[in-house]
Symmetry: C2
Subunit: 482 residues, 2 copies
Amino acid sequence: MIDLAREGDTPIYLQIYQLLRSAILSGVLKPGSHLPPSRQMAVELGVSRNTVITALECLDGEGLVEGRQGSGVRIVEWKEEIEGSAPATAGRRSKRSAIRFAAMLGELQRMRPPEYGVEQMPLRPGLPDLRLFPANTWGRMLRRANNRQEAADRGYAYPSGHLLLKEALTGYLSEKRLVSVTPRQVVIASSAQGILDLIVRLFVEPGDVVWHEEPGYEGMRAAFIQARADIVPIPVDENGMDFEAYRNRAKPKLIYVTPSHQHPMGYTLSLARRRMLLDYAERAGALVIEDDYDSEFHYEGRPIAALQGLRGDAPVIYVGTLSKTMAPSLRIGFAVAPRDVAEMMATLQRSTGQVAATDVQIAAAGFIADGHYARHLRRLHRIYAERRVALIDALERRLGHLAVVHKPNGGMQLVVELPKMKTGDADLARRLAKVGVAAYPLSRFYLGKPARRGLMLGFAPWTPGEIDAAVSKLQAVLKPPR
Amino acid sequence: MIDLAREGDTPIYLQIYQLLRSAILSGVLKPGSHLPPSRQMAVELGVSRNTVITALECLDGEGLVEGRQGSGVRIVEWKEEIEGSAPATAGRRSKRSAIRFAAMLGELQRMRPPEYGVEQMPLRPGLPDLRLFPANTWGRMLRRANNRQEAADRGYAYPSGHLLLKEALTGYLSEKRLVSVTPRQVVIASSAQGILDLIVRLFVEPGDVVWHEEPGYEGMRAAFIQARADIVPIPVDENGMDFEAYRNRAKPKLIYVTPSHQHPMGYTLSLARRRMLLDYAERAGALVIEDDYDSEFHYEGRPIAALQGLRGDAPVIYVGTLSKTMAPSLRIGFAVAPRDVAEMMATLQRSTGQVAATDVQIAAAGFIADGHYARHLRRLHRIYAERRVALIDALERRLGHLAVVHKPNGGMQLVVELPKMKTGDADLARRLAKVGVAAYPLSRFYLGKPARRGLMLGFAPWTPGEIDAAVSKLQAVLKPPR
């Protein structure tokens, strides 16, 4: 029986919604199962049917349930996000058949937004441990940011971001990543994905050649696809992107690279390759997009400085984010670009609205400038280092010869290759999702035919105990008891 | 002599920057004038030269000054933004001549981001009075939003927005604007401009026909231009968009309309036209974009409900914003769309990053749900009503027969036609900017040859006294003393 607080601040419908949501996310209510009819729930809870319906609409709004109230509402199965397949609703087109989405969206539909719940499932890659978010300090920073603002700060202001955050990032990036940067080169947007999208829109005309890592980051690929770029997949080896064989082909306009920890493989782009890449880009008139998404975490060897700072006036746009170090909910991504490019990005932002909230920008600036950011990163670093070892250990111990673990020097995730597997990795990920493990199949990072089979697994958000429990589920799926 | 606090919390460079900034924005330091060399300023202030240079870089980062430190830094002239001409820097291309921006950007360059200072100049249209922003209450809401978040709220979550804000907007829009809406139809993005951009990207292929009001909102036009749409300008009369003559031409895919207060003319789309427009859109298979940007303020007659709610299942995407009622710095725009369209918008948002910050979304949800929003709007309404009258009075009193004042029933701005003017209105706006009045020339809202000459003037952010002072400057420019 659910216990509702009848007198409190929180509306009854919200309490019901929150309780059901917790039950769904924690797995107490199973994916695919039905909730009782709303009429029955209302009687059992002693509330009006409308109250129940409102709560159900909330769950529906989050994509946690589906179906009509009359026939009983069903808890959605999360597998769609995991496998990256077309959503169940993709075929449910408007009754107004005349509505014609633009053609490129067919491709996009494979990349459906994740449901809330899935993000919190172990071992989903790409997330920090949000339980470690410094909420008290952040609350103070938000309050101070609000108090400090003058009327002018609350206007439209400059689309590429507030000066205080540009200043704070300039200090941080030049010191920690040896990026060559002045505030005027910094562009702040509503996420790193927004930055990638802006770059593509600035430079790519349909049919333009771009280089992408293979396997590579699917967010970049999505932006390239939308712009109808001619994507050339460049293979990746232990030294990062290996473009030697592509030197004499059609010149790319943009080259996307993840030098610190290649996404997804985790390799570091070697210094020799860095130099060659800058040489090549300069001669080809190409711009390099350096995505430095989680370089703050580096566990073995010396962290390698950013490609962007390797030589003066390098044709590089450096891209970073606060999503991996603080929280995705801040919606702050940033770039360091040559000054004319930065100005054009700001101009474009004005008409695309990919702009970050000023309260959050000023709060983040304070968080960095007052030293909280460096302290927070040191704390996370210590914890994530332990979890990385825990995941590697659990995989080697439990999977033995079935698995080849690619041990990254840094970052928040790793790839485990499963060369002896009978089925495809997408199928494996689907089966894992059913037992509560959110792994990404390696195949989803390939544009062409996947050269490897395996999984990308995150280690940052979970304790060694949670990690081992999840790997034991992986073991059970891979080696079912006879 | 500047008085610096040597012991306080605020770094010296920031104090110098803030003092100079105030001096520039208030007009104490005139546009076009030079600052003393940094070396001399350092001596006079008793600080290191580097401190001065950092402060100057801050001003430079905001676009308030330009030029090299050696030869003395110059305070920029703001006229570029006012006249909407190509920025002074447009010709300053990268040394890497190989960098080729996409072709459509030539058009975009006409739409340069505004500098900070200009926004605060009377009578700039499109802004609320940010001095009336309820900063204390907002600070409380931000703190509460931060405290209430669970770990899952700080993740990527659902790209089209947090459920609490969707709920709050659903309640507000259905009650106040009679919009037909459930939370699942609501899409929240990083600004209304972001919403318009998402819609265009979802539906417009190069060459697709779209209808735009003439004169019409330049932000929508910019998004259409980028998508290489075939823009058909539809003339506007006292009853709003008059599309009768366009019925039998090529069918549009999208129809953009501002029914409450036509932008810029301020006319209301008549009920008969609303019905005809919905009929036409249904038959033509077109989607109507209803931009309801400042309908919260209505002074004469009954406010007309949203077009979207006029009939069930109307082919309308309703667009709104918190920029005009609260503050642009929140970076929150929203849409109410048919459910399948809303889902596709969320999918697209995931790869474009046009997403709003979660802290701000939850704070805004609380602000609305707790009744602060309705109270704030009532207060603004009272104040803006007075200012509208003040602007109309000042224009009629000071300009007499030279001016035709279009008195809008609502909104935050109005158009004054100046049919007897000798020069073009862009030239007039330039001259006004020099004396500290930020008016928009009517010609900037035309795609074709402007049928009228005049100015768009905002009244919401200024007191009757400030308004009269600004109109007296307009009077002096139009009727120079002999």
